[in-house]
């Protein structure tokens, strides 16, 4: 019986084999991600999926290298004119998909549009103007000296200004950014990138084809066609790779790492990530959290290494601070301080020997193993007599609760859009201020004006060594004060078939430079 079925399946597979061979002649890459881009308008949403799309169909002025340096892309070179001005030289002879040629007018158009975009305007707030010098020279001007000018410039993917200007047949402005509804830009695309979008069925598949006139002729990339299929279910995504249905999958769930590592046809690449997972302790809701000793006790009670090893199966880097290695603020001397005896002692000193009861909330489908981590933390807190009433929620319901600061301890994961430490502090530890938007996600209500001032000072310091020293001091002070409970940086993992050489194009930002991907 089984053999019959096997024979049947085998013959079916053979029947489809010639198709697969034919596809090999023009190199095709089938990839499965957990989601597909929500729109083709790269200024509509700031998310991993959209940045991935941006790198496939557009090119930034400059981009991050693997070791968090910069490499020139559409900007050939740049030089600082003064404290607030950086001059860029644009690459000549770069073509858009539409056939238009890239000039500074396109960069200006893009810059102005970014300032309009609801998602991007915050990142571009420090920029005051763009000065067009000539067709291939322009200057970016900031209102204050801004050390992260180049970091931010990696978000400038020049759009084809001619293509996105004017009106559609129905009289709508082509450059319009629409969050909800159909805009011209959400369905049409013209960039300078290595791939054009040839077909798109939202939620089902996106097809890309190599752009013939791509400017970067030195790119080793040899993939002619990419088919992206969103596969949300972890198991199905991994099965699709193991069964040969797709060539490249991400993300790889921790539970399947071993399975892929042991598969002789697959390739697994993992990397320590930059997304910090942490808990806030709400001082406004719980009187005891105002006492630094209690916060320190909690910091001592949590076994970060245990969580990373047992729950994350080694798929996380235990953290004692927010800045991951490679960031300016990363302070090498800070290590997880798990010590239950010390924690109990601190609780005693603070007068809470008998402990107290708190509420805790965490999402259950946002971060890797988020609900299990929360359970573990709750169990660890029980050892210093803090009784935790834990509630885990799907992310759609979690964030409104988070905005309401609905529990005493709440989990959040954060990735710095600027790839810089200051971003962590601004959103997670600054004194909350509704008017300026500072501390927007500071669910601990931790507030230390001195630390905030130090970060502000670092943010206008263009001497990067001095700046790094300041940020590292910030990390140290937050650590000493136990402002929050850091857990770990979530690792990243990608997997592919053996003949797909993904390793060189991967990076810690998690947008593979697929234009340079080589398939053997």
């Amino acid at each position: 019986m089984k053999k019959l079925i096997a024979a049947f399946v085998g013959s079916m597979a053979l029947a489809s084999a010639p198709l697969a061979l034919a596809a090999d002649a023009t190199k095709e890459l089938k990839m499965a991600y957990d989601a597909d881009p929500v729109t083709l308008d790269i200024h509509e949403q700031l998310s991993g999926g959209i940045l991935q799309l941006s790198h496939m169909t557009f090119d930034p002025l400059l981009r991050w290298t693997k070791d968090l340096g910069f490499e020139p892309r559409l900007a050939e070179s740049w030089e600082r004119i003064d404290d607030k001005t950086m001059r860029f030289k644009l690459r000549e002879g770069v073509m858009f998909h539409s056939g238009n040629e890239l000039t500074t007018a396109d960069v200006k158009f893009t810059f102005d549009r970014l300032k309009q975009s609801q998602d991007f305007k915050a990142i571009f707030k420090p920029f005051s103007a763009i000065n067009v010098v000539d067709d291939y020279t322009f200057e970016l001007v900031t209102s204050e000296p801004y050390p992260l000018l180049l970091n931010t410039a990696t978000y400038i993917f020049p759009l084809d200004s001619e293509f996105y200007s004017g009106q559609t047949e129905s009289g709508k402005d082509k450059s319009e950014i629409l969050k909800h509804g159909n805009s011209f830009a959400s369905e049409n695309l013209s960039g300078t990138g290595p791939y054009t979008v040839t077909e798109r069925k939202q939620g089902v598949r996106v097809e890309f084809e190599r752009f013939d006139d791509y400017w970067d002729t030195e790119s080793p990339g040899n993939v002619d066609k990419i088919v992206l299929t969103p596969i949300k279910e972890n198991n199905t995504r991994v099965s699709a790779l193991l069964s040969g249905g797709v060539d490249f999958v991400a993300p790889v769930p921790p539970n399947d790492l071993e399975r892929i590592r042991n598969d002789k046809n697959s390739n697994l690449v993992t990397m320590s990530g930059t997304r910090i997972i942490l808990f806030h302790m709400n001082q406004e809701r719980v009187e005891a959290f105002k006492n630094p000793k209690v916060r320190q006790a909690i910091a001592y009670a949590i076994n970060q290494e245990g969580i990373a090893a047992k729950i994350m199966k080694g798929f996380a880097t235990p953290a004692a601070q927010m800045s991951p290695a490679g960031y300016q603020g990363h302070n090498d001397s800070l290590a997880p301080r798990f010590d239950v005896a010390k924690a109990q002692e601190l609780m005693k000193e603070a007068g809470y020997e008998d402990g107290f009861t708190i509420t805790m909330m965490a999402p259950n489908n946002r971060y890797v193993n988020d609900d299990k981590i929360a359970q573990a933390v709750a169990a660890m807190l029980a050892r210093i007599n803090i009784k935790v009433d834990l509630k885990t929620l799907p992310k759609a319901q979690y964030w409104p609760e988070y905005d309401n600061r609905a529990a005493d301890m709440m989990m959040i994961g954060w990735h710095a859009d600027t790839e810089d430490s200051a971003n962590f502090y601004e959103f997670l530890t600054f004194c909350p201020d509704a008017d300026s938007g500072a501390g927007q996600y500071n669910a601990g209500n931790y507030c230390n004006a001195e630390i905030d001032a130090l970060v502000d000072k670092a943010n206008v310091e263009t001497d990067l060594d001095k700046r790094a020293a300041m940020l590292q001091e910030v990390e140290q002070r937050l650590y000493d004060d136990a402002a929050f409970v850091p857990l770990h940086w979530q690792d990243l993992a990608w997997a592919s078939k053996k003949n797909v050489n993904i390793e060189p194009v991967l990076n810690v930002m998690n947008f593979p430079y697929l234009g340079d991907l080589v398939v053997e």
């Binding site: 399946v9 597979a13 915050a122 909800h180 949300k232 199905t236 992310k395 964030w399």
Partner: protein, 349 residues
Amino acid sequence: MLAFLVQRISQAFLVMFVISVIAFAIQDGLGDPLQEMVGMSVSQEEREAIREELGLNDPMVVQYLRFAGNALQGDLGNSYFYSKPTLEVIAEHLPGTLELVIGASLIIVFLSVPIGVYAAIRPQAWLSKFFMGVSTVGISIPVFLTAIVLIQLFSIGVTVSWFPSDTGWGQWLNDFFSTEGGLPSYGRGDDLIHLFGTWESGFFSSGGLMHLVLPSVSLASIMLPLFIRLIRAEMMEVLQSDYVRYARAKGLSAGRINFLHALKNTMLPVITVGGVQIGIMVAYTILTETVFQWPGVGLMFLEAITRSDIPLIVAYLMVVGLIFVVTNTLVDLIYGLVNPTVKLTGKKA
């Protein structure tokens, strides 16, 4: 007949109304749709502006009346995620689900009737006992587990080495239990044939059919045992009835008794249950579609929930409600055809 239809249509409106009210009432519990629409670093003011633009700040009653007013004109709103009218989105996804249900139904019909009848006629045969045993196991395994096992066996393939491979029989047994894999494990494939409207079919190409195999089998696995048992039980009861005994006594051939007289009466309750089960199958497709990344309405609905795409959730619930009303109406009509003594409106004859 006409009175029956009018009655059913007014029922349908009532059902729709109730569903829409319930769907609207629970939307607060479904979360904030904005979380999926904007990046984390977008400020509260920007969020507030978008919320205002979408009309999410209005009182629930105002929102419902606005929705109901549009709904009466056939407009169920725009999906937040797809940025398209919800009915259009559902129309694009519905063919996938229908093909899956058709595939599973075909498997169920072509397997359950012969097996059920056989098991009823020869209840003591070892083959009957085997089928009954398997169906007990089948009914108790959750569909996603079946799906995962099927994927492992027939997509990825399993190499077995339980037996000594240096002996002929060991090698043969190893080969016997090993599987090749190779069947597609996700999606509907690339070569779909466009039929009409939004219907792209996988039934007319080898690639499309191959993609249908595993999902259909998984979906069928949950209903098949039920139908086998139902047909067997009904058939056994019918075989005990007087008119069958009389037919036997009259000397009619076994084939004629079993298939013409007995089977026809067996099918009445089976059709009723079948109609309801097709509706339930639409619900089961949510699981099957998730595991196989099948782009049908089930997967669409599940994702709409995780994204709190409220207009799409409401529209889906209403469409499914409509499907239930329509299938039940059809079942009643067919019932009337199979058994003319049944009065549709339920009045005394």
